[in-house]
C-alpha cells in the first residue's frame, strides 16, 4: 500500500483548471518530486493535500484512509507537514517559539491546566522542548534559538521552515521549492538535509522544485505537470529527457 495516493484530483478557480485530473502514488521512504513550469499547478496540489482547498473532484488517500474531507487542522496530526513557497513563519516570535508551535498537534494539556500552568503542563512543555531540540541539533540552528524571525537572514528562515515542519514528527513531508532564493552553497546543504531526512529520519518526502541539479541528486521519482495535467512520470533522467517535458519548458 502506498503511503499517499492522489486519484484524479482536480480543482477549478473560476474558469481556470489549476489542477485537472492528476494521479500519483507516493511510496514509503522515497523522495517524490513534482516539476513543471510556473503556474503549472504544483503549489495548488500541495494546497489540496493540506486541505486548504477542496478538490472539485478526485480523492486523496493517506495510509489507506480517505482524507479528501478531513479538516485542514487535522492533517498535521495524521502525519503530513509542509513548508511554503513564500515562507510562512511566525515573524514576530522567536525561532524556538516557531518550532514549539509545530508541536501543537501533539499537545495534551487543556485550557484550564494551562491557565494555572500546572506541573503537568510544565512536564509537557519540557517534552516538547526536547523534541524541538533534536531538530535544532539536526539542522544546526542552535545559535538562532532566541532570535526573532524578522531578524533572521533569508537562508536561515528557509531552514527554520524545514525545521518547523520536522517538529511535527511527520510521516510525509511536503517541501514547496526548498531551494528557491538560496545560494549554491545553501542549496547543497539543503540537498544533504533532504537525503538525511529520508535516510536517517525515514521520512517520505514530496517536493516541488525548479533546480534540476537538486531534483536529480535527491529524487527517486519525478512527476512533470503542465497546465494542471500530468506530462510524464519516472526517474529524474527519464522525465528530463521526455519530449513533452522538454517542449513544456522550452515553451513549445
Amino acid at each position: 500500500m502506498s503511503l499517499f495516493a492522489a486519484e484524479e484530483i482536480a480543482i477549478n478557480f473560476g474558469g481556470i483548471k489549476a489542477v485537472d485530473g492528476v494521479s500519483f502514488a507516493i511510496e514509503k521512504g522515497e523522495v517524490f518530486t513534482i516539476i513543471g513550469p510556473n503556474g503549472a499547478g504544483k503549489t495548488t496540489i500541495f494546497n489540496l493535500m493540506s486541505r486548504i482547498y477542496d478538490p472539485t473532484s478526485g480523492r486523496l488517500k493517506f495510509e489507506g484512509q480517505d482524507i479528501t474531507r478531513v479538516a485542514p487542522h487535522r492533517i498535521a496530526k495524521l502525519g503530513i507537514a509542509r513548508t511554503f513557497q513564500n515562507i510562512e513563519l511566525f515573524e514576530h516570535a522567536s525561532l524556538l517559539q516557531n518550532l514549539l508551535l509545530a508541536r501543537h498537534a501533539h499537545k495534551k494539556s487543556n485550557f484550564f491546566s494551562e491557565l494555572l500552568f500546572l506541573p503537568s503542563v510544565r512536564r509537557m512543555e519540557i517534552e516538547h522542548r526536547e523534541a524541538v531540540e533534536q531538530v535544532i541539533d539536526f539542522l544546526d540552528l542552535q545559535q538562532y534559538r532566541d532570535t526573532l524571525i524578522v531578524n533572521l537572514p533569508y537562508g536561515v528562515r528557509k531552514v527554520t521552515e524545514l525545521a518547523r515542519a520536522l517538529c511535527t514528527k511527520p510521516k510525509l513531508l511536503l517541501l514547496d521549492e526548498p531551494s528557491s532564493g538560496l545560494n549554491v552553497e545553501e542549496t547543497e546543504d539543503m540537498a544533504f538535509w533532504i537525503q538525511d531526512i529520508k535516510n536517517l529520519l525515514g521520512i517520505t518526502v514530496l517536493m516541488v522544485e525548479h533546480d534540476m541539479t537538486l531534483v536529480s541528486s535527491v529524487s527517486d521519482r519525478v512527476l512533470a505537470i503542465n497546465y494542471g495535467r500530468p506530462l510524464a512520470m519516472g526517474t529524474p533522467r527519464e522525465v528530463q529527457s521526455h519530449p513533452e517535458v522538454m517542449r513544456a519548458y522550452l515553451g513549445g
Binding site: F90, A93, F117, Y154
Partner: protein
Amino acid sequence: MRFIFKTSYNQDIQLFRDKVDLGWYVALVVAVLAVPFLLSDYSVGETSWVFIYGICGVSLMTLVGYTGLVSLGHAAFLGIGAYAHAYFLEHGMPWVPSVVLAVLITTVCGFVVGLPALRMTGLYLSIATLAFAVIIQEVFSHWESVTHGFAGMPVGPPTIFGFSFAGSREFYYLCLFFLVLALWVTRNLLRAPTGRAWIAIRDSEIAAQSMGVNLAIYKSMAFAYSAGLMGLAGALFAHKIAYLAPDIFTILLSIQFLLLVIVGGLGSLHGAVFGAIFVALLPPLIAILRDGLPASFADLSTSTGIGLFHIVGDAIGNFLKKPGVEAGIFGLILVLVILLEPLGMYGRWVKIRVFFSTFPLYKADSFKRQKSYMKTERLR
C-alpha cells in the same frame, strides 16, 4: 551587560528570566504595596484606575496584540461586566459569586461575538465589533428593569466575606490583586500551547492551520478570554465609578482601550501595564495643566514683567477647557506613537534598558533590523 547562562529547559519556561529579574519584580511589588502609605487618599484613588485599566489592557492585549484580532467594541464587554455585577449585588448576591457570574456572562458574550471572527478579517471584524458595541449601548439604555436606563444605577463599595473595601486604600489593594492575577494567568497561557497558537494565528493563519491549530476554536477562545477579563475589570470599574449610566460605555472608551495597547506596545504584557499608566494618568494630568498652568504663567509674567506669558498661559488653559480636547490629545498621541515608536512605550523602555546595560558601547544601530533579503532581491 549581563549574560544568562542557560543550563536547563526549565529556565526558558520560568516566569522570570533569572534571579536578578526576579529581584527587580520583587522590588516593584514592594514599592507598589507601599504606595498607599506614601500618597494622599486622592492619589491612591487615581492609582487604582491604573490597575483597572491594566486589566482592560491585558484583555485587549491578548486579542489585539497576541491574536491579531482588532476589536472596536471592548467597552461593551466592560459595560456588560459592570452592569451584571451591579445587578447581582443589587439583588443581594454576595460579592464573589456575583463577580464570577459577571465574568462568565461576559465570557459567553465574547464567545458569541467572536463567532463572526471566524469568517471576517481585518477591518470587517472591527466594524462588526463596533456594531455590537452600539447595540449593547442601546440595550443598556432601554433594558430599564435591569440597568435603570438613564436614571443610572448606583453601586456601593465592595464587601467581601464581611470585610469592607470602601476605603481607597483597601480598594487599591483589591484592584492590584486582580491585576496581578490577570497578568499571571495570561502569562501562563502565553507560555503554553494556547498562547503560542494565538501568536501563530496573528502571524500566519495558513501556517498555523497546517501545524494543527484549529483556527475557529482558538479565535473564539481569544475572544471569550479577552471578554472575560474585561468583565472582571467591569466589576471593579462599577465600584470605582459608583454610578453606572449607559453613556459611559461609548465607542470613545473602546478606542481609548485600543490606544492603551498601541501606546503601551503591541505584543507585550509590559505594554499593557505601561499603556494603562498612560491612559489612567493622562486625564488627571490634563486637569492639572488646565487648572494650574494659567496661574503659574500669570506668576511668571508678573515676576519677569513679560505680559506675553500671561496671554500664553490663558490661551493654553482655555484650550484645555474646550470639550473634546482630551480625545484630541489622545488621538494626537496615538498618531505620534504609530509614526515614531511603533513598538510603543515598551519598545522605548527596552531601548533605554539596553542603552544602560551596554553603556558606553551603545550603538544607535542596535535596533536596526538586520538586512534580510527577499527572494526577488537574491535571484537577481
